[in-house]
Symmetry: C3
Subunit: 153 residues, 3 copies
C-alpha cells in the first residue's frame, strides 16, 4: 500500500496513520509519501538553526511546527475543537497522533518526504524527524506501481 | 471497490455515492466505509433518546443530524449555496443525496460505520440508519485487499 | 492510472497534475476525470458568449474563470498566499499549473470532463479548453476497472 499524505489536518492525519498502521499490522508493506501540507507531520525543531530566505521563513512560520501543531479541518473553533478532540481521544484510550507516527515507524512503514515540496516550502532535511527518506514523484509512481492499493489523503 | 467516506461535505458525499452506485450498476461488489465526519451520512434521529456524556452531546450538536443536513465544502454562503445546489439538482432531475444513499442500499452496496469513530464521537448504534454494519480498520484493510480499487473521499 | 480531480484548490490541482505527468512519463496510460469544482481547471473564455439561465450564471460567476484563477486551500490570505506560492514556484523553476496541464496533454494524458457536473453547474462544451472528452460515471468506472490505480483528489 502506498498512500499520499497531502493534508496536515489533524483528522486526516489521524485517518492516514490509522490506515497505515492497520495495513502494516495485516502484513502489507506500506509506504507513506508526505507532500505539500503533509510535510508538517514530519517536522521537528532542528538542532542547529537553518539558513532560510525570506519566503522560506514565511512558509516556516505559517506551517505547524510539528505533528503536535495539527488542527481539525472542521470545528477547530480557535483550537478549542482540536483540544476537545485530544481530550476525548485520551479519555477513550485512542493513540495520539504523535504515537501513531512512532508506531508506524516501529511497524516498518516507510516514510518518504516529497523533495519538490521541501524545495518549494524551504523545508530542510535537518528539520525532519529521523528515519525519513526523501524522494520525488518518480519514486512515488514506482512504489505505487508495486502496490495493490493507494490513497490520496 | 472499497471506498472510505471521510468527509461530510455535500459535494463529496454526492461524488462518493454516485461513484458507488455507478460501480454497483457495473456489477462490482462495492463497500463504503464511513469514518469520522462521514458518519453524518448514516445518522438518523434515534427512536429512544440515548445517554451521552457532556463531550458526546457537544459532538452530537455540532455534527449534521442526518444526510439532509450536509453542506457544500465551498460557496456554502450561510446555507444559500447548498440550497441553490439542491434546487438546481431538482430542476435537472439529479437524484438527491438521501435517495442516492437509499439507491446504494438497494443496489447492494455494503455500508460500514467505523467503530473507532463512533466511539470517539459518541455516536451510538441506535443513531444509525438501518442496514449498516459496524467495523474497524482491520475489516477495512481486509475488504480493501479484496478490491481492485479504493478511494479516500 | 485513472484519477478523479474533484477539487479546484491550487495545491491539489498541482499535486494531481504532477502525479499524472509522472505516471505518463513512466509509461502508464493515464486518465484524469474532472468533476465538480475540478471542472474549473478545464475552463476557458468561450469564443462566443453562451446562453445561460440565472442559476448557471451564478455558478459561472462564482467559479474560477480558468486554471489561472485557482487559489490555495489554506493560507490563501485574500490571494496573497497564492501569489506568494506562484512567485516561489517561478523562483525555483517549478512548472506553473497552466503549463503542467499543457504538458499533460502533450504527454498523452486523457482529459475527461464529467457530463453530470457540467449539466448541474451549467458549463457548456464551448467553455472547455481543446482536447477534452466528455463522459459520465459509467465511463469513469470503465476506465478505473482497466487501471492498476486510482486516486480521488
Amino acid at each position: 500500500m502506498t498512500n499520499v499524505i497531502f493534508s496536515n489536518d489533524f483528522d486526516k492525519a489521524m485517518a492516514g496513520l490509522i490506515i497505515a498502521n492497520g495495513a502494516a499490522a495485516a502484513g502489507y508493506e506500506t509506504t507513506l509519501f508526505f507532500t505539500f501540507w503533509g510535510l508538517s507531520l514530519l517536522r521537528k525543531d532542528p538542532e542547529k538553526p537553518v539558513n532560510k530566505n525570506f519566503m522560506e521563513k514565511m512558509f516556516g512560520m505559517m506551517l505547524p511546527k510539528n505533528i503536535d501543531g495539527l488542527k481539525l479541518s472542521k470545528m477547530n473553533m480557535a483550537g478549542m475543537g482540536t483540544a476537545m478532540m485530544n481530550k476525548v481521544m485520551a479519555d477513550k484510550n485512542v493513540t495520539s497522533l504523535k504515537d501513531l507516527l512512532k508506531l508506524a515507524r516501529e511497524n516498518g512503514v516507510k516514510l518518504v518526504a516529497c523533495s519538490m515540496s521541501m524545495d518549494v516550502m524551504g523545508i530542510k532535511e535537518s528539520e525532519l524527524i529521523d528515519g525519513v527518506e526523501i524522494g520525488g514523484v518518480a519514486m512515488y509512481i514506482d512504489e505505487l506501481s508495486n502496490s495493490s492499493s493507494g490513497l490520496f489523503i
